[in-house]
C-alpha cells in the first residue's frame, strides 16, 4: 500500500530536517584567541544584539543562528540537538517551557554562575519563574504583564472607556456588541492567555511544595475564571475562536474585535502587523477582580539557558548577562524594528521608553503603564513540567467547547487528566488537587 512508504518518507524528512540544519557548521570568523560560543534564538533582532556584543569586546565571539519559534519546531530542534550532542551554548526558552527543559537536562543548573550583580539587576518575580527548588535554570530577558489593548475610536463611538473590573468588562461587552462585532475573542488557541487571567485571579496550577509537583489546574480561582468566560461565550458577548490564524487576523484588521488581552510585547507586534491602524489603539491595565488588591499574570516573555554540554558556560553566561542587562543590547534589539518588549531588568525600562516610537499609540507612554503593571505580577506562579502538552490539550478542549461540546471547565479538567500520565511516566513525584 502506498500509504506506508509515504508515511515513512514524512517521518524521515521530519527527522532529517533538524539534523541537516544542525550539521551545517557555523560561519563567521572569530578574532584569534577568542572563546567561540553559539546561540540559537527565534527572537527577532537577535542578530543585531549578537553583532553589538561581538563589537563590544574581543574575548568572546558569539555565532548566532535564527531558528523557528518553539511551537513551530524550535523546541524539538533544541531537544534533538542536545540528544545528538551538537546543541548551542545558549538557547532561548519561553517561561512555560523552562521547567520541562530543566527536567530534561537541556538547561544547565546555572545557580552558581548567576552572580549577585546580575540578581540585583533583575525583577525578582521574573527570576523566581526560572528558579525551581532553589536552583536557577535560565535568566529572564523580558517579563510581560498582561494588559488590555483596545480601539479608542470604536470605544468612543459606544461611549465607553476601558473597563477597570471584570464586571465592567461584561457591561462594556454588552454595550459594544452588535450583529458583526464583539468586545474580544476568547482565544481557543490561547492557553497562555487563559493561564494569565487565571494567574491574575490567584490560580496556582502547579507548585513544588514538599518535593512533589502538586497539580491543580481546576482550582477555585481557575473555576471562577472559566465560569466567567463561559458566561460571556454563552451570552454571545465574545467570539470564541482561534486568534493566531487568518480568522483572528481578520477580526482585528476589520475592527470586528475591539480589544485584545495580551502581553506588553503585543504592542510592537500590532504596530508591525497593522500600520494602517495607527492612532486608533491605546493600552489600559488588565481589568481586576478586586481593584483594592490589583494583580496581573504574565503573557509571553523569554529566558536564556546555558545548555548542558556547553564547553564554555562562563562565556555563555557573560553573553547572557550582557543581553539581559546592558542598554546597548536593548537598543540593538529595538533598532531591528518595532518592539515593545518589557525588559526584566528594571534599569533598562528607561532605555526602552526612549527608544520606543509613541506615535502609533497616540503619544501614550505605554512603558510607564507597563512599569506599574509589572509590579502587580502575582508572585508564586509556577509553570508545569510538560507545559506545551498541557496547553495543547487545554486548547483542544477550548476548541471543542467553542463547537458546543463541553465547557471551558471541562477543558481545564481534561488538561489536568492528560497531564498526569506524562508526569507519572517521567518518574516525577506528584500529587493532585481539586480536579
Amino acid at each position: 500500500m502506498p500509504v506506508r512508504p509515504s508515511r515513512r518518507t514524512v517521518l524521515a524528512a521530519g527527522l532529517a530536517w533538524p539534523l541537516a540544519t544542525a550539521c551545517s557548521g557555523p560561519g563567521g570568523d572569530a578574532p584569534r584567541g577568542a572563546t567561540r560560543i553559539t546561540f540559537w534564538s527565534a527572537l527577532r533582532g537577535s542578530q543585531q544584539v549578537v553583532d553589538a556584543f561581538n563589537r563590544s569586546q574581543n574575548r568572546i565571539q558569539v555565532v548566532f543562528r535564527q531558528i523557528p519559534s518553539g511551537d513551530q519546531g524550535g523546541y524539538a530542534k533544541l531537544s534533538n540537538a542536545v540528544r545528538a550532542g551538537n546543541a548551542p551554548d545558549v538557547a532561548t526558552i519561553e517561561y512555560p517551557q523552562v521547567p520541562g527543559f530543566a527536567i530534561d537536562g537541556v538547561a544547565r543548573d546555572i545557580t552558581d554562575l548567576v552572580g549577585d550583580r546580575l540578581r540585583a539587576k533583575l525583577l525578582p518575580q521574573a527570576l523566581r519563574l526560572t528558579t525551581f527548588a532553589g536552583r536557577v535554570f535560565t535568566v529572564p530577558l523580558d517579563v510581560e504583564p498582561m494588559v488590555l489593548h483596545y480601539r479608542t475610536d470604536l470605544f468612543a463611538r459606544h461611549g465607553s472607556g476601558p473597563p477597570r473590573t471584570w464586571d465592567e468588562f461584561t457591561a462594556v461587552a454588552r454595550k459594544v456588541r452588535d450583529d458583526r462585532s464583539r468586545l474580544v475573542a476568547f482565544a481557543t488557541d490561547g492557553a497562555t492567555q487563559f493561564a494569565a487571567v487565571s494567574w491574575q485571579a490567584g490560580a496556582q496550577w502547579f507548585d513544588t511544595a514538599g518535593g512533589a509537583w502538586n497539580v491543580s489546574l481546576a482550582d477555585a480561582a481557575t473555576r471562577r475564571v472559566a465560569g466567567y468566560w463561559q458566561g460571556l461565550i454563552d451570552e454571545g458577548l465574545v467570539f470564541a475562536n482561534g486568534v493566531q490564524g487568518r480568522q483572528g487576523d481578520a477580526q482585528i484588521g476589520q475592527g470586528l474585535v475591539l480589544a485584545r488581552l495580551s502581553g506588553a510585547w503585543d504592542a510592537g507586534a500590532q504596530m508591525k502587523a497593522r500600520p494602517g491602524q495607527k492612532g486608533k489603539w491605546a493600552i489600559a491595565p488588565l481589568p481586576q477582580w478586586d481593584p483594592a488588591q490589583p494583580a496581573v499574570g504574565t503573557h509571553g516573555g523569554s529566558t536564556f539557558a546555558v545548555t548542558r554540554d556547553s564547553a564554555h558556560p562562563e562565556a555563555a553566561m557573560e553573553f547572557i548577562e550582557w543581553q539581559v542587562s546592558h542598554p546597548d543590547a536593548l537598543r540593538a534589539r529595538l533598532s531591528s524594528g518595532t518592539s515593545s518588549q518589557y525588559p526584566a531588568a528594571p534599569d533598562l525600562v528607561e532605555v526602552g521608553r526612549k527608544a520606543f516610537d509613541r506615535r502609533y499609540y497616540g503619544g501614550q507612554d505605554i512603558y510607564r503603564l507597563f512599569e506599574t503593571e509589572a509590579l502587580k505580577i502575582r508572585d508564586g506562579w509556577t509553570w508545569g513540567p510538560r507545559m506545551s502538552a498541557t496547553q495543547r490539550v487545554l486548547q483542544d478542549g477550548f476548541a471543542r467547547a467553542s463547537a458546543g461540546q463541553g465547557t471551558l471547565l471541562d477543558a481545564v479538567r481534561d488538561a489536568q487528566r492528560a497531564t498526569m500520565p506524562d508526569l507519572l511516566a517521567l518518574g516525577l513525584a506528584t500529587t493532585e488537587r481539586s480536579s
Binding site: P5, F132, A403, G427
Partner: protein, 316 residues
C-alpha cells in the same frame, strides 16, 4: 524453486549426490532468505526490542526531577501511565469508530464493484479498472493534501458550490472529521481492493458458474451465493490488511490537523505516540504506547483469523 534448480545437476554427475545437494540447497536457501531476515532484524526486531527496552527503563531523577538522571528499571510504570491517559484511550476510540465506518464500507463497495466488473454488466471493463485503480497510485500524503483542499472552506470549490445552494457544510467539523477521513481512505484504497477481488473472481471455475446458471440462478443470486463464498479467502485477507492499516491511522489526521482544531495532536494512537516522543520528549510513554498498539494489532489480527476459521468450519 531451489529443488528444481539443483536436481538435473545431481542426477547427472556425482555418485554420492545426496549430501552435497542438501548442502547446496541449504546454501541457496540461506542466500535467498538472508535479505528477508536481515530486513526483519533491522527494521522490525531491533526497533521493537528498543521500544520494549525503552518502555521498561527510564532516566529518572527523584522528586521534582531537577537532579542528575539515573537509568533504572521502572517496571510497568509507563504502561500504567498510557492506560491511565484519557487521550490515549480516546485515540483508541477514534480508531475503533473509524474502523467501524471504514471496514464495512470498503469491503462492501469494493466487492460490489468487483462483482459488477466480473458479471459483464459493466462495459469498458479495462478503463473502469484503470479509473478505479488510479487513485491508489497517488501517495497517501498527496491524497490527503488534495482532499484537504476540497474540504477547506474558502478554498474548496465543493464547499463554495454548496454555499451557493444555501447549504453550509463543514467537512472538518466536530462530527464530520472521521467521515471525511474515511472518505479519503476509501478514495485511495477502493481500486486496489476491487482489483484484489476481481483477480480472485477470475479464478472461480467457470463450470461452477455455468452450473448455477443451469440451475436457474440469476445474476445477482450467482454473485451473492456462489461467487462471494468462493472468494472468501480474499475477503478475509482484505479485512485483515485494512484493519492493520487502519489501526496505524496517521497520515490523514496528521495533515488535516493543520486545518482544524477538531483533530488534536493525540487524535489516533499513532499520533499519540508521535506526540509523546517528539513534542513531549517522553520516550518511555511513547514506547509503552507503541507496544500496546502492537499488542492490540496482533490480538485483533489473531481474533479475526480465528473467528473466520471457526465460521468456515461451521459452514462446512
Amino acid at each position: 524453486m531451489t529443488t528444481t534448480l539443483a536436481r538435473p545437476e545431481s542426477a547427472s554427475r556425482t555418485p554420492a549426490p545426496r549430501v552435497r545437494t542438501r548442502h547446496r540447497q541449504g546454501t541457496a536457501c540461506a542466500v535467498l532468505m538472508a535479505p528477508f531476515f536481515v530486513l526483519l532484524v533491522v527494521v522490525f526486531l531491533v526497533p521493537a526490542g528498543t521500544a520494549l527496552w525503552l518502555s521498561f527503563f527510564g532516566a529518572d531523577e527523584p522528586g521534582l526531577g531537577f537532579g542528575p538522571e539515573h537509568t533504572i528499571f521502572v517496571g510497568f510504570r509507563s504502561y500504567a501511565a498510557v492506560l491511565a491517559d484519557p487521550t490515549f484511550l480516546g485515540g483508541l476510540g477514534v480508531v475503533a469508530l473509524y474502523c467501524l465506518l471504514y471496514l464495512p464500507l470498503l469491503v462492501v463497495t469494493s466487492l460490489g464493484l468487483a462483482l459488477l466488473l466480473d458479471s459483464g454488466v459493466a462495459r469498458l471493463r479495462g478503463s473502469a479498472r484503470l479509473a478505479l485503480f488510479l487513485p491508489h497510485a497517488v501517495p497517501g500524503i498527496i491524497a490527503a493534501i488534495i482532499w484537504l483542499y476540497l474540504y477547506l472552506p474558502g478554498l474548496s470549490p465543493v464547499v463554495d458550490l454548496f454555499g451557493k445552494a444555501g447549504i453550509t457544510v463543514d467537512f472538518l467539523g466536530i462530527h464530520t472529521v472521521i467521515p471525511s477521513m474515511v472518505n479519503i481512505a476509501l478514495w485511495s484504497n477502493l481500486g486496489y481492493n476491487v482489483v484484489v477481488f476481481y483477480a480472485a473472481l477470475q479464478a472461480v471455475p467457470r463450470e461452477v458458474i455455468e452450473a448455477a446458471v443451469v440451475d436457474g440462478a440469476g445474476g445477482v443470486r450467482t454473485a451473492l451465493r456462489i461467487k462471494t463464498p468462493l472468494i472468501r479467502a480474499s475477503i478475509v485477507m482484505v479485512v485483515l490488511f485494512t484493519l492493520i492499516w487502519s489501526l496505524q491511522l496517521f497520515t490523514e489526521p496528521m495533515l488535516l490537523s493543520q486545518a482544524t482544531p477538531m483533530i488534536t495532536a493525540r487524535f489516533s494512537p499513532s499520533m499519540y505516540i508521535y506526540d509523546a516522543a517528539f513534542t513531549r520528549n517522553n520516550y518511555g510513554l511513547a514506547a509503552a504506547a507503541s507496544v500496546i498498539l502492537l499488542m492490540c494489532t496482533i490480538a485483533l489480527s489473531y481474533g479475526v483469523t480465528r473467528w473466520t476459521n471457526r465460521t468456515r468450519e461451521a459452514a462446512q
